[in-house]
Assembly symmetry: D2
């Protein structure tokens, strides 16, 4: 299948590599010449613009840092919509606000193109291993078309509803994740301050009503979960600045929907403080250090 | 075994009933004459005071509403310590602050009595069914002594460490539970406001990093979990005023330990607002109504 | 002086009226034909577009609801910058984010136009009476040029620094105002719940370290300040939805500047909850009702 | 007048000194022998216990660190109530919770003693200079009796209502003060991050609706107010740990009164974090450093 793949950053490049491995012919576009050359060496074709990449493609996929990039890559004069063929399936895998996802899809519809949003979770590790989760907002036909291709880059391909609902699912989940991680941090730090063994406390929580992924799989207390970033100096997981971005998307979407999100807003500010102190590059579970006496 | 059982409220009465059923001889004390008569009819003996109940008992167990009652029942002139024999095992199952638990245990130690704290979770349903969880703070010998008796009233008997750690485990878990429930409420209400199907959203969260007991077992959105209080008008679960009490214990213990708990403090205030509006008697998952447009 | 005045809403129309009264010739533009006719009857000239209004004007002034309108009125094909003469002083009095103010000013500079931002406070009452406060971001020469004209619509014309600082001053002040009003509401409601006379409490606060405009001039407790909206059913002041807008601008500007604003974010959410309950049209001091038992 | 003065710490000692200077005969009690000797050298009489101090006194005044001390000094076997004469006016100047103030006053009433609470503001500087503010909860006759004596130690003697209302006034004011100071810190730090001159911003706030004591008299930004602690390294003012204590009293009183105080609870936690980081001894306006990038 001839696929236009635009956006070859830390996530996009390994995803594109998996599609090449699966036998697809890729039209590649990015501003970074080095990564373009690397992927061309594996068999991809370098395009001069998003429009050029889209021309003749049987599917267009983009993976970009933020909403502004999505708008320009799709809507500009030399953007995807200027080159894509009528009826060609299109999907944006960036994590952006639901409104932009819907706006760009509406513009695509005017060109006769059905477009999906399909943000991912799983990080760069999942992108490399091809084990990402895709949260897909698309009409049923488009979902059926995209599903086998996405499955070559991920393990869970979840249909969330119409276009935009992929983004909604992701920001709602990550809103809760950010709150949960702060909550686990408060509970663990309080338990430690009051004098219970943290390993024992985690065990009780994990078999009780406080049970959650942030405690039983990704516990922020060092040593509780051997495979968690907390047990390796808060490195190599989901960076605090990425969580901060997602909480920003959630509170901004809430503002537009006239919907209060009180704990979410506080969690966002706590991650902002962590980032301001210079710790935005650490794993997001390092928020627990905001609750512990400095050494 | 001759057991003094003091405090026969909504939790204590069914617990005492289970001990009588198991064949123990109970010395009963409470201020409520009706419940005393009911239990006496099952074979228990009514005592004139906590001291009288404790005299001659081989084990003393109390189940009281708050720290002030625990202090007076154990420490007053006609309290348990005035009657209990040296070396008799003692346990308080009330949910109170860890400091009071330790203070009363220290007073008991002066009488030659080893005392445990063993707060429960599982509610009145678990008390009746004998399926409570006991979080036990006790020295290892005392835990070994108490374990078989507690197992006649509960299913999980967890050793948390020395006296006081039972309370610590409970308030840390419930601190996290209160935060999680608010977090799930914000995520579900936001998803709904943005236009995703709430059943689909819950499914995604429950298989992703937002997964938690408050979402996958006790989801606050009506109809998502058929067995949850949300699906029966927020009745018959864990009342918001009980959550409010536990969050009060957590933030007060945090204050004494000089430990910040930011989301916990906000969650406490949100439950306080809910209670002030007259909804403290509803299940605590009804906090989601603070995030939904009034009908 | 020939002045282009664009944006004739609740604020803009009375401001324009004051300029006409002061003897200026106005080129008027708005989408609302009724208000255009009214002002034309007083002597203004109706223009076909922002560009037409700007052509030949010696000063251009805009007063618009939000950043999107400012961008389109200034930057569109038939916008102000397409018609304005080189060297003509320009000022936008809308309340918007500082970044948009700077972006539009940068675009104006490319046309050889120095532009100021000058958001106001004082409400529709101040607009009618000509007693507004203007917070002006402009270079010193431009400020000197604008000052006498703005003084025909307002009483305090404050120079805040370069373009953008007018918006910064306004959102920082209103961030603090929103927090203070919630703080006064909590203090007054707590005092009442604990049993002190609210009039006495306000008197003590107002002569002590809690003293603030939200307490001594605009107290949210009914009857404490006879002239405050609280004493007339929370009508006729600064609407809660306007405070919500300004808190949204403040937290969004903070997000872009990587700056935490914790209480500000919570205050925003509390106003969002108030608005969701249907009370966004009341004066913002009615936030105190979120802290009082419903009648 | 023969006055029993109990509690001679940083506040009590200079207050007692002012009463001696004013010509009163003082019965002194404290656990600190050094300060007792100092004040005896000025003419006071050292007592063996609170009871002894109270015996024969025409007025009893206490100034103690916390509620537990107030209870024991007044209610113990060798406490004030064991020695005080019937009808002797009594006043406690400690800052404690309103409920303890009312409880001790009720115990005093059983001895035929009318008791007032009269917490102060003004710090050790005000205690030395005799310029304290006394917030007095007392019946009108007792207030009339106490007023001239308190006026020898302070400048503002405010009648707040019945016993307990002095404490209520103080904690409500300081609740608002704590919130305001955080609010000013957020506004100043945001303004700085966005690029406005902080001196200009403070000037605008102080003549606008954000105006408050925390900004116009005690601004947390260094250099804005020359006489404020911020301009001398956050030394010599009202310590953050004292603010933390008062916010703890406020949120605990709110809990007992079933009254939410959302921003107050967050402010308390922010001061707790500051204290945990080791900055509890700095002036409370140093909370602004929680909002500024570390150097």
């Amino acid at each position: 299948m001839k696929i236009a793949f635009i956006g070859l950053g830390n996530m996009g490049a390994p995803m594109a590599r998996n599609l090449i491995k699966a036998g697809h012919a890729l039209n590649l576009f990015d501003l970074n010449q080095t990564v373009l050359n690397e992927l061309a060496a594996l068999g991809g074709t370098i395009s001069a613009s998003p429009r050029d990449a889209a021309q003749g493609a049987e599917l267009v996929l983009t993976m970009l840092p933020a909403a502004a990039h999505v708008r320009s890559v799709w809507l500009n004069e030399d953007g995807v919509l200027a080159g894509i063929g009528k009826g060609v399936p299109a999907v944006d895998c960036s994590t952006i606000d639901p409104q932009t996802a819907r706006d760009v899809a509406a513009a695509a519809a005017k060109h006769g193109v059905a477009m999906a949003d399909a943000p991912v979770s799983g990080g760069t590790g999942g992108a490399q291993a091809g084990t990402l989760t895709f949260m897909v907002g698309a009409n049923p036909e488009l979902f059926a078309t995209l599903q086998p291709v996405l499955a070559q880059m991920g393990r869970n391909i979840v249909h969330c509803g119409d276009v935009g609902t992929g983004q909604i699912a992701k920001i709602c989940n990550n809103l809760l994740l950010g709150i949960s991680m702060v909550g686990v941090s408060e509970a663990m730090a309080l338990g430690d301050a009051l004098g219970i063994d943290t390993q024992v406390l985690a065990g009780i929580i994990n078999s009780s009503t406080g049970r959650c992924w942030s405690s039983d799989t990704y516990n922020p207390w060092p040593g509780v979960i051997e495979t968690a970033p907390a047990s390796r100096g808060y490195t190599g997981g989901f960076g605090a600045d990425l969580m901060l971005k997602d909480l920003g998307l959630a509170t901004e979407a809430a503002r537009q929907a006239h919907q209060p999100v009180i704990l979410g807003a506080v969690a966002q500010q706590l991650y902002q403080s962590m980032s301001q102190r210079g710790d935005g590059g650490k794993d997001f579970s390092a928020i627990i250090n905001s609750y512990r006496k400095p050494l």
